[in-house]
Subunit: 436 residues, 2 copies
């Protein structure tokens, strides 16, 4: 007898049971359909790459969050930790094979040795979409539109995309003469949703005089319609075609498409410090705010500078699939459960199994999913199986039915039998049960 190994998985990694995985796939398929409908095309890249490509020259200090090792050929390799760095490398490497503007989506797993105590996973799925090669309002708007349409397609209707522009806040700080402290100030401002207005004010008065702290708070807490907030920003920071003008164009397009209620101009959105240079987005679901943003992104002015001298501006956003699924659970607004299987053909004997499979084929040809119970076990066992798997109907074709060339359809939810049916009538009966 072999010594057995305890079946277990690594902390922060997950198995998915069929029901969970079906739901995950349904969400991914919905997003993918929206992306494609808007002219975004799929790409894929390796899960494993050279460490210097993913982490920069020399690979930097060993980041605890990176799965990095030496492969059997002595190469320094790492598992990807996001989809943005590989995309930058991809754009530089395949530039001659691609055209601009290039619109891609990428739904794939990434790996980070995160602290799992905060409910984070070490293997998780990102859904990124970007437009590379242009710096214009139309592209900024298209990413916003895609964020709105994606959530709507998932059946979520109560949400807002909060957006702002990195340059306005920086310009405002310069006007205040506080540009040099912008790093510290942005870090405080970023905490507004977590710690609240008074706590941010206290932090800011450590950095600046009371008056300027008050002005910053007024800037980031401006409320009202998007138009009113924009007016307030222009009053505080001045008008500039590149930032307030850009926001205005994006907001006008949102109104033209009737999605303005899903868009909120929110000057407190800063999205970290280094990466973004223009518009930035975060998305909050009403009633699931504590989960944080389920879809975030923004504009960057130089995607692939690590790999090429060609400047590639772009704008994009990313859905955190795991966080989004958690939010949907929270809201009890799961995407419609893909029903497991429509039809189970019961088995009465194990000779002539072709007969049962032929019946299942006729249901499949009519568009149903159908399977045959493989062994001639007691009917109670077969019904119990159907119930566990969530199968809607059973088709019974025992010796008597077979002699009379009929079948019985059983509605498993209602526990009702429909007997003596021709195959045609059986198909109609199943259709009625499934669609009812």
């Amino acid at each position: 007898m072999k010594e057995q190994i305890e079946p277990r998985i690594l902390k922060g990694f997950r198995d998915f049971l069929p029901q969970q995985e079906s739901r995950r796939k349904a969400v991914q398929e919905t997003l993918q359909a929206v992306f494609r409908q808007h002219g975004f095309l799929p790409i894929d890249t390796p899960i494993l790459e050279y460490s210097d490509v993913l982490l920069g020259k020399g690979g930097g200090e060993t980041d605890k969050q990176i799965y990095r090792f030496e492969d059997n050929g002595g190469r320094d390799v790492s598992m990807r930790f996001d989809l943005t760095v590989p995309f930058a490398r991809y754009m530089a490497q395949h530039r001659s094979e691609l055209y601009l503007p290039f619109k891609r989506y990428h739904i794939a797993k990434v790996f980070r040795g995160e602290n799992t105590q905060r409910g984070r996973y070490r293997e998780f799925t990102q859904c990124d979409f970007d437009i590379v090669g242009v710096d214009c309002a139309s592209a900024d708007f298209e990413i916003l539109l895609l964020m709105v349409r994606s959530l709507q397609a998932l059946g979520v209707h109560d949400f807002r995309v909060h957006l702002s522009h990195r340059a306005i806040f920086n310009r405002f700080l310069d006007t205040l003469g506080a540009g040099r402290q912008s790093g510290d100030i942005l870090r405080s401002v970023d905490k507004l949703k977590k710690i609240g207005e008074e706590a941010v004010r206290e932090e800011l008065t450590q950095l600046l005089d009371q008056q300027r702290a008050a002005q910053i708070l007024m800037f980031i807490t401006a409320t009202g319609t998007a138009g009113e907030v924009l007016t307030s920003l222009v009053a505080l920071a001045g008008h500039n075609e590149h930032d307030t003008g850009r926001l205005q164009a994006v907001l006008e397009a949102a109104a033209a498409l009737g999605i303005q209620d899903h868009v909120r101009l929110d000057p407190s959105i800063t999205r970290g410090l280094d990466y973004y240079t223009g518009i930035v987005y975060e998305t909050f679901l009403d009633g699931a705010a504590e989960i944080g943003s389920v879809c975030s992104g923004g504009r960057y002015n130089d995607l692939a500078s690590l790999y090429t001298k060609e400047q590639l501006p772009g704008v994009g956003s990313s859905v955190g699939l795991d966080r989004l699924l958690a939010a949907l659970e929270e809201l009890h607004s799961r995407p419609a459960e893909p029903s497991a299987v429509d039809v189970l053909v019961l088995a009465f004997d194990e000779t002539g199994i072709g007969h049962y499979h032929s019946i299942a084929e006729q249901f499949r040809a009519a568009g149903f999913s159908a399977e045959v119970y493989p062994e001639a076990r007691k009917l109670g066992v077969q019904f119990a199986f159907a119930e566990k798997k969530g199968i809607r109907t059973a088709v019974i074709c025992g010796p008597e039915e077979r002699a009379a060339d009929v079948v019985t359809v059983k509605d498993l939810a209602q526990r009702a039998n429909h007997s003596g049916l021709s195959m045609d009538d059986a198909l109609k009966t199943v259709r009625r049960i499934i669609s009812g």
Copy 2:
């Protein structure tokens, strides 16, 4: 100026451009639809697992093909090299949450440090489907049916699934008194398709006397209808309900469903030595035989013995996605190219971009994929973009059209303009162009 890093990927790993990735996704979606239609449900497992779980106690000698390393927490971990071992672990670990028979499919990447000179990849995608928990002809047949239906759904019609039963050949060798050399004999027999009959005969006569070598050759080269081959096998090895009886039941079911022309009883199929215990399958496409089997599998009597005492018999098969795509290329019978994008709305100015996006939305609402060119560049640039991306139609709504509340639809393949159209007529015109 930052020092730049050469954008490059690891040997044996691949980037996929949008056209390739679209094709890969289309094949996966087709397979998935077939699997679901037959009641197979999706699961997923981690890409990274404990090495002892994937490789057995102690992990064995370090296999050069395994990506194995110590993670930042000091754990001995490996990237999965197939989907079967993780599935065995999964069944043992989640046994109480699952019901039997359990039918799952799993489409995912696996990693092996293969010698890339033989055209092998180190990261590749497998599509596995299995029925666990029963040992019966109906399940063996269902896997065969799925193999046939999967290829048909991909538009492949000239192929055969070659099948055999591991036990028959072993029994036959015992009858010959050659059971002890079965390992060497099976290795020779396995080369039949590569090196031919005479070379195999030569190898066999190194192991056995000429008469028994001749009998083995007669056994593995039996030709004719499945019924004739079966008769020949029974004549040489004797009848046994468990193996020849099982094959007979599977072949009868194939005939009942009219797929017998895609099935070939081929006693030379052995599929390695250890794993399989019953029926074995390999699939060859006519005209692409040198690519080898594109879908292979068989029956095993104890899936998860490494992790649990419960015996879990099963039967399954696996499509090698990369090999299948190579075979489809070879046959020039690519699955229908998913067309990139149906409609490009051209841009004439950058104010009021909502207008262009509204037009695109109307096409999307009618079921088309549509995008807006983001900048008001020269029409020649916009048309060149459409051509590179493979977009079928352009919608022109310049200042004149806008004043008259009409649009022009351009058929980009035919270079024909349809001017002065209402939106309704524009939708109809695009539909005619796309479906033509």
